[in-house]
Symmetry: D2
Subunit: 363 residues, 4 copies
């Protein structure tokens, strides 16, 4: 099931960039979760393009519709189908580029994978737009987790070479919603905005890093050996277009540490066992420890740039160049913040379901 | 299925560190693959402990037995069951540590997950020893891939803060098998050996980074949106104990690049389309491009150290300290090299099966 | 994934009887299959209510819409989403019956399963209407199988106690499309029509048996031990509401036979190995033999009858009676014929995909 | 995963008739279930061949070994691996029959499926012996269900044309354990024994019907639309070699009933809602109702008969005849009774796990 994720809380996505819609089916959301259209729309609005200078000018309203699975303001336990219709798609450019694959995009690999039958307009399903499906499903997942007290917050920690300074959880909660880049470091935000503006003017793009944090996750979630919390989160995060790296806790930094530095010492605190550091990112042996889950996700720069690039004409098997026109993000990272949250939420819902945990109201 | 991985080429592992055995069942290996015990033993020997100064002194012979699934020197298409018996297990230390979880280990999370019924001796299934199962299964996967011309090579690229210099593929192939650390940089190997010796003498440990490369992988493998090549590889790699980060191609480095730097330009070469760089690590849109797949995996330092550490007595809910005795690796990274290869092989076998690709001899 | 079926050719259904729509997502249909709306509508029209005297008077047009997964008249390899909107739903009766479960329906079990949050209008997802989803998906499956020369034909072989006489394959192909009951025995059809009319006038209903036949299925399909062709077909057929028995070949009749009668003798015929009888129903060891697959499916009488029935008031926990009003089929069997075909087609597509078989045009 | 069944309580089988062993891995048995070797051996002994006149003379001791997943007399939550070694296998006959497929067996279909690489000795995995794996796993499942008060009883209700008369549950519980055929009708047992003896002397075999009953199953289990209780039970039961039909409750009899006869009327009884009849077999809408689950399973006569049969030489593509020698059951039905119980138990464990139900002691 290549377009599904999760074992008990399962999300199946569908749709293409320039087709009729993009959507998702959630199978396995327990009955009795209060759910309104607004719950979903609120998250969708956080990934909307077109609201900021650094973003694509494609103007989709992205009004979510719920087609099944709710009744009297609650989930029914049957599949929840949601979609947004595509309206503002301009496919004219893609006909011209059909045989000249855009570097960094999936044009060529999709053609090879699907024998040339893939919908190449806007990349078909290989489009940032598919993340609208992730967000619809993730919005429901976040709602379910919230009823259990679990909170997920993502924020931008690097754009290009610019890194945000570490901030306390309180500062993150306060600053991120106000930042156009969802970054907790106010000073860095300003510099990042300038950098994005600069590369946009150069017809270029820039990548970055998003950190996702899950708070109040119960200890003891996880299905190792194979279905570890890290592994499932990583699989979900790599489904987000442009992700090339995922790490947890101290991440790649662990390679440079000694065991005595990296091991998180245990201590008792208010009758609970905690760790004094969190190099493990809240996960040991693939199982949650009760400490915050901390994941970091590397996003490559948007491959759509207006600078001339070397490519091939795959029909004539000759070398050529390409200049990509159209409406694109100079930096996808800020719009990806909510997507990271949603993918983390989807995976954690699955683990919560595996553990048989249900909010009181839904029992 | 928490102890299984793969959809068509499925590996299920079983066993515990101090139980009777560790083993694996492969379901979905096509009939007709020539397979001998030596094919599997050869890979197992590469992860054997006890052969080098930096390694644990637990001395398991790890002689693989094949219990089902082969006949007349070929696979039959039915489940292949393999195991190694445990013989040299000393459980005495674990009884004492039962209520004082070792920092950095899964002792506490396993107890929480399994309600205290987990086999805590040697960590139970939360043991480096479970990777013997991965290697048995991976050996079969590598054999299957080899019949298709696909080759997988992993090597150590960092130990502690020491980084190996980049080497050509030819140098990697030549130097790695000779290096006790499976590192292609001869000079770095020597320094790494000294570092390991040093931390061992301190009663400490050190982590590192392994790079896995898959060569001659056909273009067009992958099952996006959700089952991307990156995502499935990452999930498999995070199942290896101690892994805290996984990246592909330019990895976390993409965050600092501009699109014009990061996009891999296309060119024709000998009638094939290639990319002039490989920042994508051979994967675009979750689909293989035909370029080498390059993954990097961060391993944390072995949590078992003989230095005194802060922990708790979980029974009495009091703070205490712990000194871990026993036979442990000061650096797990060299023994993990073959494990990385094997996990990559298992995942690629699954994608190869999904694509319906079979060697001529097996059709 | 409770609302999905299939491993490689996966169908996920959604929707409720009185919700906005019923639909299906197919994940795993290979790219390149020619597919038009008419291909799907044609099958949908065969299950339409309201065209015959014996059928419900709920008048849905059931115009299929394809929301994703096709481009330029072919499948793209990405999820195919299809739906029909609900328009003619009258929910007024259900509010009254909320606490008095209809005998033979899933009213009570659904309430217990979903904690009372289920959409009880029209049975919610426990409705014959969900089979519209099966037909949409099955229509695509039948198209795919047709490109491989595989043909699936179902027909009514019993209504109430009336049994159709056995007919040759040629007669089945000729007579079934002309029969309002999809029955190959013309004389029996007339008697069955009278019986249905009689029970309808009594405010009662009647069951029956449908036989499904799959022709030209390649030998060697099947994934035993667990994923047998019989097992997967049975699972799919039991998903059709009202099915209480499934058998293959000689079916329950095998229990009365001796081995020497039941074993299908082999013989060579035109350079192929065939069996002289087909008591196995085309399946041995869970694997297709190349002979026709023959399945028989028992349907219970529609539980919705207008006769007074004993039930309970589940709120007051008291005994009471119920008379079900509304628009219902006196005999669901004829409308189920296309559904049986479609479920068989979905399952066989999955096995065909598992075997890596693809039509030439799609390679 | 063709050799696995179940989503949360998953059983994977392995082994061949004349290989080293047959076995099973259970993944998903919760931690804390008291489990001894005797719990498993007890069920294994009920399917042992060689103890009765009507049975094969192959004399396997079938002593179960548990290789992983238990510790201190309880399950640990990790995979439980069990096996029995093969010792008394005589493969000499099979070499001769290699190219002359036995009618009614999977010899030919297995060869086609696995390209001739299948282990043809004793049928390889297409052997009644694989049911030893089902029983090992089922024994654990039964133990888990027992802790929840769920009881599963199967019994023989027909052998050849001879049908047992219906007996009360009390009589079934009393008579079945004493009957060499596991039949509750004492008089019928005697006649059945004579019939089996007669067909054995004729070099023939005979089939039959087994009924499985599950008592005290909680209402509300089931994962429709696709994963119905009937569908999952049927899939599991069709995995038992020789099964050609499965029905629930009134089964195929529903086809001859009117709705007013077939609908099970509701009534209150001791503060619970019950049905006054059980034509539904305890399942409505694919969900358990709390009434006993009743399944009936048709077994074909053992295909191994010593009468001469028509077959082909598949190498020379010529017609020939075959007389099967060796040790075979004249009637497999009595030995299948425990297998039916075990398969039902495995499936119900999975549904119990899906519902998040756990015995108090294991929470």
């Amino acid at each position: 099931m290549s377009n599904s994720i999760g074992g008990l809380f399962t999300v199946t996505t569908f749709g293409e960039s320039h087709g009729r819609c993009v959507g998702a089916v959630i199978d396995g959301c327990p009955a009795g979760l209060p759910l309104t259209l607004e719950d979903v729309q609120k998250e969708m609005d956080r990934r909307r393009p077109g609201t900021q200078a650094f973003s694509t000018t494609r103007a989709e309203e992205d009004k979510v519709e719920i087609l099944s699975g709710t009744f009297n303001g609650h989930t029914t336990g049957t599949p929840i189908t949601m979609l947004v219709w595509n309206r503002d798609a301009d496919s004219s450019a893609y006909e011209r580029m059909k045989d000249t694959p855009r570097p960094g995009h999936a044009d060529l690999t999709a053609r090879l994978r699907y024998g040339g039958f893939n919908d190449y307009r806007g990349g078909g399903q290989f489009t940032g737009r598919i993340t609208a499906s992730f967000v619809m499903a993730g919005a429901v997942a976040k709602k379910l987790l919230n009823t259990l007290g679990i909170e997920i917050i993502a924020h931008t920690i690097a754009i290009g070479g610019l890194k945000a300074e570490a901030r306390s959880l309180a500062e993150i909660k306060e600053n991120v919603p106000r930042s156009p880049l969802y970054c907790a470091d106010v000073a860095a935000t300003a510099r990042m905005m300038q950098l994005i503006e600069k590369v946009r003017n150069e017809g270029d793009s820039v990548g970055g890093v998003v950190e996702g944090i899950a708070l109040n996750v119960p200890a003891g979630l996880g299905e190792p050996v194979m279905d570890t919390v890290e592994g499932e989160l990583a699989k979900a995060l790599f489904a987000i277009p442009a992700v090339k790296g995922v790490e947890f806790g101290a991440g790649f930094g662990v390679a440079e540490k000694k065991g005595s530095e990296n091991n998180d010492a245990y201590a008792t605190q208010n009758g609970k066992i905690v760790t004094l550091t969190n190099n493990s990112g809240g996960i040991l042996g693939g199982i949650t420890s009760g400490m915050p889950i901390v994941a970091r996700v590397a996003f490559k720069p948007t491959p759509s740039i207006s600078k001339e690039q070397k490519t091939v004409n795959s029909k004539e098997m000759s070398d050529t160049t390409l200049t990509v026109k159209g409406r694109h993000d100079a930096c996808i990272v800020p719009r990806a913040v909510v997507v990271v949250e949603c993918m983390m939420a989807i995976v954690l819902c699955d683990f919560v379901r595996m553990a048989g945990i249900l909010p009181e109201v839904m029992k």
